[in-house]
Amino acid sequence: MPLARLIPCLDVANGRVVKGVSFVGLRDVGDPVELAAHYSAGGADELVFLDIAATPDDTRTMTSVVNQVADVLEIPFTVGGGVRSVEDASRIIESGADRVSLNSAALATPSLIGAIADRYGSQAVVVAIDAGEGVVHTHGGRVATKVATLQWAKEACERGAGEILLTSIAQDGKRTGFDLALTRAVRGVVSIPVIASGGAGSAAHVAEALRVTDAALIASIVHENPSGLPGLRREIEALGIQLRPFKER
């Protein structure tokens, strides 16, 4: 098995990194290209950029951000938000991203998962699921659907997704730990890796998540102290989780 992955997530709107608490109350935390380079140098295994505005104007801004990030980053990165067609995915991947993340667009058009996977391979398609009370939510976690989380995870996997990015809406931004039961349940019904998201507040929380799944998404915990990433890695390793060998620059 590959080593556990620590993945800082940068929520981007109009070319700036923002992070909300339970998806509301956004505040500005920085420049995406600068933060990406900083996290890469600090030992991030991978990065995720979620374009949370995804308006037409914002999409053009995002494409330029992806280009700039690709030129400075020597670790893989995923871009989500506003991917509604194979053309959107192509634009992002050809701008230098390794993978795209689909959320509501995949729910609305499940065949999109397979269409992108056919062109770029399953490893290029992440399906993001915002989960709460057993069902999938849309619109940044605000609207509950009737789709059961486990059923959707299974279908996404069968349709060719290469990874699930699983966010617990209740835990997101709270920094009180991941929803381990949810993570375990989803991982149990799919044969692809699962990234746990929502709730990282300490190294212990991340280590707990990495004991039950393949990767952990972190946000506020690093954005509040961007220079603390190497220290966080060491703490997680001290708790018995093997991360990739990494030398601080």
Partner: protein
């Protein structure tokens, strides 16, 4: 002429490979033009996309013959991920695809705990971790490195293929690329 020619096969992310080359102080271009491929100081066959569409593109542009010619003449080629797999004889991907056949071996569906196999993993005997993202894997007598027991590097003559993405493997990846290029 550029220091490095990155072979274009119509899909995927060639930007990262070029960014890594720029980082190492090298010029690069992305092309499927046969003469450029045959004559370049160093060629990278990169790796994102599907085996069938990649092979169709290589055949349609004549890049396949250029790669054969280059290999026979001893010109250095680095295959990355799908680019390594394409150098073997056949792939199980897309219902079975005839590949370039530069090297003996075939490509089979990965049987692992989780597929795709995503993330950083140690490569032995090199003792470094590199980034992987694959659902298929090469089986070849020309294996020179393994990871979790899988063949992840094959070498013969002037061809070196790796299953991982050195251009996405941080400092370890850049050092690897630097070694490859200085040996060329």
């Amino acid at each position: 002429m550029s220091d490095v020619v990155v072979v274009d096969y119509g899909a995927g992310n060639t930007r990262s490979v070029r960014a890594a080359m720029t980082h190492l102080g090298l010029t690069s271009e992305v092309t499927s033009e046969p003469d450029a491929i045959a004559g370049a100081p160093f060629v990278v066959l990169p790796g994102v996309g599907s085996a069938r569409s990649a092979m169709e593109h290589l055949v349609a542009t004549g890049a396949d013959q250029a790669l054969h010619r280059r290999f026979q003449d001893g010109g250095a080629i680095l295959g990355i991920c799908l680019g390594m797999q394409l150098a073997l004889e056949t792939s199980e991907e897309d219902g079975g695809v005839a590949c370039l056949g530069l090297l003996e071996g075939s490509v089979v569906r990965l049987h692992a705990d989780r597929v795709p196999r995503l993330g950083w993993a140690l490569v032995e005997p090199w003792g470094e971790a590199f980034y992987f993202a694959h659902s298929y894997v090469g089986v070849s007598p020309l294996s020179v490195a393994t990871s979790d027991g899988l063949t992840v590097a094959i070498e013969s003559g002037s061809f070196l293929g790796v299953q991982f993405h050195p251009e996405k493997s941080g400092d370890a990846g850049l050092k690897f690329l630097e070694r490859c290029l200085s040996l060329a």
